[in-house]
């Protein structure tokens, strides 16, 4: 009789190890005679099913009520760009403020009138668009509390007005130029001083080229690229340059549309002689890849003293140029940009920055501003980088202007082991120019207003209805002291502070 099972197959079946068999019902595991390992494995005691086991260590037994969080905002966030627009919004008028009677406007006469020292001069309404175009107004300045924008005419303003007037009155082709770095403590009015310069430039129909914040070029917010394959260590910022062209073209539309291209521009085949400089600038705005060559072409046109042979019919004498840069300290350090080897790029390796810093040096053969004009670069004292080399360089520039010989012992030198940035020292190393009428680089420190100027400034607050006090000499003098010796921003803070009689 044959079995249903094949005995050979059965013998090949392996016996299952005991441990993976289901545990016996009894608690004590059976032990086998010969096998010791598997049965000795204890049956693992399972953790008890979750049940209350009393309070844990140092945990309160109180009933915990889950707090509701903040009610979630149901509304959508504002569309992109709106918050920034609100932050950057500049309000230049306050209809609630009183209109100041007899307020004079800034014009050719008032900007040099020393009788108006200490009074606030209004900016002419047509000029406000130009000033907005060059971004001369800052949000931190209190434009929004007065009926119309105006600036106080202080000693430095009048001096600058006289210089501008003098440069404008000189014959074309033989105009002098002015180079200044404006320093001063916080809220001393450096940016407003630049604004006043720009307003005077527009008054005198100069060409105003402005960099409203030097910081924008170095903090890594605009695109950058190597200038060319031949010069891989120089970088260009096309978007920023296009913006500069746009600012310049918009603000100086009236002047630029009357000037014609009278030089050869080999790099720009589309630029034809005889087109206006405004159109030239628009090339760079529309085609950002060409922004830098267009800016160079525009600058060559503006600094031309004569036409290329053959193009004389397009040439008219160029007006003086005003160049302003605010917060120039940001250009004296490494930027947030990196080279292809991931090394930080120094600000002076950007052609944009280099162009404006080179203007500080005396021109080779001819003046840096051959048609005259002014370079006014202001430092910033709030949120500015602290650069030792720049501080020393400013002292050196002031000493050079004062006539101190750089080899003499009185010449300020950096501390021996301080390792200053030599590029910064070199950038401001501007010796006495050989070309006559070219100004030498000077450092002008803006301090506080005098007591008389401060009184006039505070009277303006009172006449605008912001300050309900009787302005006396004593009162103004007290505010002058509290404002740290007439620091104009601090005076504004004191003037606008609402006082309620108890």
């Amino acid at each position: 009789m044959t079995s249903a099972f094949c005995s050979g197959c059965l013998t090949q079946l392996r016996q299952t190890p005991r441990a993976i068999l289901p545990p016996p019902s009894t608690a004590v595991p059976r032990t086998a005679a010969f096998h010791t390992s598997a049965p000795l494995q204890k049956v693992v005691q399972k953790a008890k099913a979750s049940g209350y086991e009393g309070p844990r260590y140092r945990v309160g037994a109180n009933v915990k009520i889950k707090k509701k969080g903040r009610p979630q905002e149901k509304s959508r966030p504002p569309p992109p760009g709106e918050r920034k627009a609100l932050r950057k919004r500049i309000v230049l008028s306050n209809p609630n403020a009183l209109e100041v009677e007899g307020m004079q406007e800034l014009n050719g006469e008032t900007m040099v009138d020393s009788r108006l020292r200490g009074s606030v001069l209004a900016l002419p309404v047509p000029m406000i668009d130009q000033l907005r175009a060059v971004q001369a107004f800052k949000t931190s300045q209190g434009w929004s509390i007065f009926r119309r924008p105006g600036t106080v005419s202080r000693r430095e303003t009048l001096e600058m007005g006289r210089l501008f007037d003098q440069i404008s009155n000189e014959s074309a082709g033989d105009r002098s130029s002015l180079k200044r770095i404006i320093t001063g403590q916080r809220k001393a009015g450096k940016s407003v001083h630049l604004l006043q310069a720009m307003a005077m430039g527009f008054t005198k129909e100069w060409i105003v080229v402005s960099v409203p914040d030097a910081r924008d070029l170095v903090v890594g917010t605009t695109s950058y690229a190597p200038l060319s394959e031949a010069q891989p260590n120089l970088y260009v910022q096309n978007a920023a340059t296009a913006e500069l062209l746009s600012r310049t073209a918009t603000a100086n539309k009236k002047v630029l549309s009357n000037l014609l291209v009278s030089q050869e521009h080999a790099a720009l085949p589309t630029v034809k002689p005889g087109m206006t400089l405004e159109d030239l600038a628009k090339f760079g705005i529309q085609d950002q890849a060409n922004a830098w060559p267009v800016f160079q072409a525009l600058w060559a046109e503006l600094t031309a003293t004569s036409a290329t042979p053959g193009l004389e019919k397009h040439f008219t004498p160029r007006p003086p140029t005003l160049v302003t840069v605010d917060a120039v300290g940001y250009w004296m350090q490494n930027t947030a940009y990196h080279s292809i080897k991931h090394e930080p790029i120094h600000a002076h390796d950007f052609v944009f920055v280099r162009h404006f810093l080179d203007l500080l040096k005396p021109g080779k053969g001819k003046s840096a501003l051959p048609n005259g004009g002014a370079l006014l670069y202001a430092t910033s004292s709030s949120n500015n980088p602290s650069i030792y080399a720049f501080d020393v360089a400013l002292k050196q520039a002031a000493a050079r202007h004062a006539g101190v010989n750089p080899s003499s012992s009185e010449f300020p030198l950096p501390e021996p082991y301080s390792k200053p940035d030599t590029r910064v020292l070199e950038a401001l190393n501007s010796p006495k120019p050989t070309v006559s009428k070219e100004g030498m680089l000077n450092v002008q420190e803006l301090g506080g207003l005098t007591k008389e100027e401060a009184r006039g400034f505070l009277e303006y607050f009172a006449r605008s209805g912001l300050l309900r006090e009787t302005i006396s000499d004593e009162w103004a003098s007290e505010k002058w002291t509290l404002a740290g010796g007439g620091v104009v921003g601090e005076l504004e803070k004191l003037g606008r502070r609402l006082r309620v009689a108890a």
Partner: protein
């Protein structure tokens, strides 16, 4: 031997105190000579002699029949105090006719405080009695210092605190040769020194301008408060050095120092400056942290278990 030594000590002490008021006349005491010196046993002892006869007549002549206290105030309970008081009162009676000066012009004296006086006399003096004594002292002190008798001077000196607490006032109370007045002030952890010169209202704090030193307007106002309140902000220049503490403390330390410096220039401003609150010193400091507390007084968070 010990008893002999203590007896010797006592005798010496008694001899010393003969000058000081003694309250009880010294009773008859044994003299040292009456004690037999120590001898060797082999020595021949001299023959013992009887004591001399007591001469009662002489004894009664010397001493009264009952013991009389030396001080008349012995039975008051606090005899030393009354001795002092009677002494001062007799001085006052003696010199009552001498010319006096007003209390403000009399030299400032730091009299002993009550506990120290109690220690001096070794008696429990109630404060009211001591106040009475002080009244007499102050009246004696009003005698014109130019003609004050030496006797009074010495008597008053006995009641002065050791050291002279009022001698430490060495601050210059006048403007120096460069026209500077100096004042010091403290508040919280800050201490300020101010030099005040006549000028046109410039203020420098640690070499910095007021704005740089105090960004907050309130601090600037409180630092210059003495000058503002007296309408002299445009008449003086201030050079302040301030160390320690925070902004508020520094500003208020300057205010105090400035008030003091201003009083050197114009002492008549004192009532105005007092009204401005720059004379009164605020002595408060941070209260120390206590064990078992989170801060000086803050209790730890309550935990049920």
């Amino acid at each position: 031997m010990q008893s002999v030594r203590s007896a010797t000590y006592l005798r010496a002490a008694l001899a010393q105190r003969s000058a000081a008021p003694s309250y009880l006349a010294a009773g008859p005491t044994m003299s040292l000579k009456q004690q037999t010196p120590r001898r060797y046993a082999t020595e021949a002892t001299p023959a013992l002699t009887a004591a001399p006869e007591i001469d009662f007549d002489r004894m009664l002549q010397q001493r009264s029949a009952r013991v009389v206290p030396a001080s008349p105030s012995y039975f008051t309970g606090s005899p030393r105090f009354f001795d002092h008081l009677l002494n001062l009162e007799s001085l006052l009676a003696k010199y009552a006719a001498l010319p006096t000066v007003s209390a403000n012009d009399s030299p400032r004296m730091a009299w002993l405080k009550l506990p120290a006086f109690r220690d001096l006399v070794g008696e429990r003096i109630p404060s009211k009695k001591y106040r009475g004594l002080l009244k007499v002292l102050n009246r004696l002190n009003r005698i014109d210092p130019a003609i004050r008798p030496q006797e009074v001077r010495l008597a008053l000196k006995e009641f002065l605190r050791p050291g002279n607490p009022y001698a430490a006032q060495s601050t210059t109370t006048s403007v120096d040769e460069l026209g500077r007045a100096r004042g010091k002030g403290k508040r919280k952890e800050s201490s300020a020194v101010v030099s005040l010169v006549e000028g046109d209202g410039e203020v420098l704090v640690n070499g910095k301008s007021l704005v740089e030193a105090f960004p907050r307007v309130h601090d600037r106002e409180s630092a210059t408060w003495a000058l503002r309140f007296s309408n002299r902000l445009d008449k003086y220049n201030v050079w302040a050095t301030v160390r320690g503490g925070g902004t508020t403390g520094q500003a208020e330390a300057i205010a105090l120092a400035l008030g003091r410096a201003l009083m050197v220039h114009e002492p008549a401003l004192k009532p105005i400056l007092r009204k401005a609150g720059v004379i009164t010193v605020d002595p408060r400091r941070v209260e120390r942290k206590k064990p078992g507390r989170v801060k000086a007084r803050k209790a730890p968070t309550w935990v049920k278990r």
